[in-house]
Amino acid sequence: MGEITGVSALRAALAAEDAAIYGYGVAGAHLSGGRQAAAEQYWERHNKARDTLTAMIYALGAQPVTAQASYSLPFPVHDGTSAMALAAYIEDGVTRAYLGIVAVSDQRLRDFGALAMQNSAERAAYWRGSTQAFPGLAP
């Protein structure tokens, strides 16, 4: 496997954030009360993360990836339970993407990726209702 570059890892994280923004739009429509408020809050955080990653990619002299118009959902979402499952699924994907940044050689990017993983893992635990031993890694 070739060396993971900072730009490629950041682009992968940006793609995950774009997918998360789309997915939360779907999930939020099936949530209510405190869950919906949480979905809105997390949707805003993903938007901010997208902006941060975009700026980081530009700062490295590269072009960011473009968000897709729509994304395929891993399973049908039709109620609150499936909406929360989708949100957890999304956050797991974001965690995996930031784990990729941890593998680059730049120390600052490693720290950035590790801290971002903690945020997405916490959100995933919120939606799932349980924690995991190895967020982002295969069990």
Partner: protein
């Protein structure tokens, strides 16, 4: 057994004189062997190994705290129903960390038991509160992130994943 003793003494004498022979021949043992000098003692562990051993020790201490908390008064440790699951995840952390450590047989780290002792370590307090566990989880996560720059990529990813797990534990514990 008279036949054996003389041969054994001969072998021992030969082994003792080998360095002398090499020295008088003007060469070091490393000139004869292509690898590290076998007479120079055990080589120092690589930085990754030292770091991994320290992380393993920290995880063992965290497990000890959880065991002490679980053994304590459940009324004093609110949310104690969450503790067994969190402890189980720390035990998974320890298993995977130990699997990454390869030490020659007989070294202190390699001699560690597969599972932590059921008894808390001698340094563990008699009673551990939820607040204490929260602080320990935060310290564990922060410590792992600090070590990311010092290890190779795959190990850094394992550290980051465990740190993320520790961060979720803080939330569960109400921290």
């Amino acid at each position: 057994m008279p036949d054996i003793l003389p041969r054994r003494r001969t072998l021992l004498a030969s082994a003792a004189t080998l360095p002398l022979l090499l020295a008088t021949a003007g060469c070091r043992s490393s000139d004869v062997f292509t690898g590290p000098d076998p007479l120079a003692g055990r080589p120092r562990p690589a930085p990754d190994v030292i770091t991994l051993a320290a992380v393993i020790a920290a995880e063992e201490n965290l497990i000890s705290l959880y065991r002490t908390a679980l053994a304590g008064d459940s009324a004093a440790t609110a949310r104690s129903s969450d503790l067994p699951a969190l402890l189980a995840q720390h035990e998974q952390h320890l298993t995977r960390l130990r699997a990454r450590l390869i030490q020659p047989p007989g070294t202190a780290t390699a001699a560690a038991s597969p599972r932590p002792s059921a008894k808390p370590s001698a340094a563990a307090p008699a009673r551990v509160t939820i607040a204490r566990l929260c602080a320990a989880e935060r310290a564990s996560a922060a410590g792992l992130v600090r070590r990311l720059a010092t290890v190779e990529p795959a190990l850094a990813q394992l550290f980051a994943s465990i740190a993320a797990s520790d961060a979720t534990h803080v939330t569960v514990l109400g921290g």
